[in-house]
């Protein structure tokens, strides 16, 4: 099994300041909501969109005497995520209190894991295009509670607080500052989201705030980052600012670009960047200081006295590891290797597990249909056994054809209807029938598109369509020869011209295709036309 395809490292984004060039250095803290039914320390529901304060247990509301009890499923999801990011799992971790006051935090502290996180160092390979990717190091993942939601626009003088989200389990996934540009930052979130969705540990819904990112941005002169990487000494890098709570890929990129330019202007002016928390305003496209957060930064962490350390067993971790699915990098590498797809196509098909399994079902069903297809002489040998793995050669060929049909025809058609692949009107088995019909030479690719449209809109079986509508391709050379003869006989002046200019043979092919209603095998027609015209 191939872990991932080979790749080269991309160049960092360079921004030209008024005086010199600057490079970007970005680190991310992504908060991913664990896809659990109940909260991290209570039995209240995590369901989105409930009536205000309907999903609140007494412990979430910090009622006196109530104690937190950890949801084991949430622990399992954090471990699973760690394993998916090839990270080290800490069998001993512990919870700490992060103290601050805010109306949507009734406890007056957030239970988090500062000193002993459950997951240690891992990595994410961030794809930037075929053959180009950045290896981003993960520093840690810890479990913590989400805060509630304050609504400021329902009343002129009051803020309204809903505690439904209070205490929902979050995984905070912290990267090292290895991201080198706005596009890489968005690609990082995309890849992380893809992995989380493959693992099923977070649904990745950014609109609902189930995946949000804090982005740390700094700028440095070319060459400085390499010194940092060599020594891991942050003094080679510039002072960073943290942009809080981003939940859109587009805004993440815009905010980083704005923030980098702001810092460059300060430094080139002889000033110093102040380390602070900033907020991105999409309406004005700018970041601004959250001054009120500054003093509150004194969080006075200490071990949570309500919770014993979280100790897990290696056997339990191994059990989780055994249930990990094939991950995006592995799946993409397999699609390239086994089906002969381009990295680009493999990337499109593995973006989501639904796409990937749809595609695999299409290929799978075609292989079944083609059992009776004779061995192509290219692969057959005089000995009993074909050279190499015949089945893989066959699936390779079918893989490419199936990928074309899924990506170009099906995705295009679904997009036109604004539909999701999960409710595709044409099943993988039926799309597989079309691919098999083309592969067997029963229909041409062009007729295949007509069959596809009928199957898609009328919910019919492609094999039945071809049969009922008489769309089967004419491969009988006798019938094609007759059609070619007729066209030649009816157009003597074109024949003369074609003899002068062989390119005109195409016109004859077109006429024959027209005469046969598109059902003639184009390759056979080409050959016969060329032969008859003596070209």
């Amino acid at each position: 099994m191939l872990d991932h395809l080979a790749f080269e490292t991309p160049k960092p984004t360079v921004i030209a300041g008024a005086r010199e060039d600057w490079e970007l250095v970005i680190g991310m803290e992504v908060h991913a909501q664990v896809s659990s039914k109940a909260k991290l320390f209570s039995g209240a529901s995590t369901q989105f969109g409930a009536e205000p304060n309907a999903n609140v247990a007494f412990v979430d509301a910090a009622m006196p005497g109530m104690l937190p009890v950890i949801n084991e499923f949430c622990v399992e999801q954090a471990v699973r995520t760690g394993l998916g990011l090839k990270a080290e799992i800490n069998l001993f971790s512990a919870f700490d209190r992060k103290n601050y006051f805010y109306p949507d935090l009734p406890q007056g502290y957030q239970i988090s894991q500062l000193y002993h996180p459950i997951v240690g160092e891992g990595e994410i390979i961030v794809d930037m295009g075929p053959g180009i990717a950045r290896r981003v190091r993960i520093e840690r993942i810890h479990l913590e509670q989400d805060a509630g939601k304050s609504i400021h626009d329902m009343d002129p003088s009051m803020s309204f607080v809903d505690l439904n989200r209070t205490g929902v389990a979050l995984m905070e996934i912290v990267s090292r500052p290895d991201i080198r540009g706005p596009e890489e930052a968005a690609a990082y979130v995309t890849k992380l989201r893809q992995i989380l969705r493959y693992l099923g540990t977070c649904d990745g819904n950014m609109q609902n705030g189930n995946l949000r990112a804090d982005v740390n941005v700094s700028v440095c002169r070319p060459g400085q980052y390499e010194k940092y990487m060599e020594t891991q000494d942050f003094s080679h890098l510039g002072t960073r600012c943290e942009i809080k709570n981003m939940n859109s890929m587009r805004f993440i990129q815009a905010a980083i670009d704005y923030e980098a330019r702001r810092q460059i202007a300060i430094v080139e002016d002889g000033g110093e960047v102040v380390q602070e928390t900033r907020l991105y305003d999409p309406d004005k496209n700018e970041t601004r200081s959250m001054r009120s957060k500054e003093e509150a930064h004194d969080y006075r962490y200490f071990p949570c006295p309500d919770l014993l350390p979280l100790e897990i067993e290696q056997a339990w971790v191994d059990g989780i590891k055994a249930t990990l699915p094939e991950l995006p990098d592995e799946k993409k590498a397999r699609f390239v290797k086994d089906f002969g797809l381009s990295e680009y196509d493999a990337g499109v098909l593995t973006a989501d597990t639904t796409n990937a399994s749809f595609f695999e079902e299409v290929v799978g069903s075609t292989i079944g249909k083609l059992d009776e297809l004779p061995l192509s002489p290219v692969y057959a040998t005089t000995s009993d056994k074909p050279v190499g793995d015949f089945e893989s050669i066959q699936s390779r060929d079918l893989g490419k054809l199936s990928a074309n049909w899924v990506i170009n025809e099906l995705f295009g058609r679904l997009k036109k209807d604004d539909r999701d692949i999960a409710d595709s009107p044409i099943s993988p088995a039926r799309l597989g029938q079309i691919v098999a019909l083309i592969k067997k030479g029963d229909i041409s690719g062009k007729i295949g598109k007509d069959v596809f449209e009928i199957a898609y809109t009328q919910d019919r079986d492609p094999e039945e369509i071809v049969e009922t509508e008489g769309m089967k391709q004419v491969t009988d050379t006798g019938a094609i020869e007759t059609a070619v003869d007729e066209v030649i006989a009816a157009n003597p002046e074109q024949v003369e011209k074609a003899k002068q200019n062989p390119k005109l043979a195409g016109w004859f092919v077109g006429q024959v295709m027209k005469a046969t209603g598109g059902k003639a095998n184009p390759k056979a027609v080409n050959e016969i036309v060329a032969a008859k015209l003596g070209l």
Partner: protein
């Protein structure tokens, strides 16, 4: 480490406890007494001793991922100084 009046004021503010200025020196003294006691504890050699997290050997209790509580907004809001339309209502806080 010694706690002065300003540090005492800051700690009080972070804890959202109002302390009048003339009460700060006494508070700082109390802090210093506590820290002095902790410094004494710091002198004990604990090399190679595992931190004790519980008096009796216990494993952190776990719960299953099952919804067992909720739909009690009335009880949750009962002690709120102000509640409207199912929400807690607090003086406006805007970032």
């Amino acid at each position: 480490m010694s706690i002065d009046k300003d540090t005492a004021r800051k700690v009080a503010h972070l804890a959202r406890i109002r302390v009048e200025d003339d009460a700060l020196p006494a508070l700082a003294d109390e802090f210093n007494t506590i820290l002095g006691f902790i410094e004494e504890l710091n002198e004990v050699n604990v090399d190679g001793i595992e931190p004790m997290t519980s008096v009796t050997p216990q494993r952190l209790k776990r719960r299953e991922d099952v919804v067992t509580e909720g739909d009690q907004a009335d009880k949750i809001l009962r002690n709120a100084p102000d509640a409207r339309e199912g929400f807690f209502a607090v003086p406006k806080v805007v970032e």
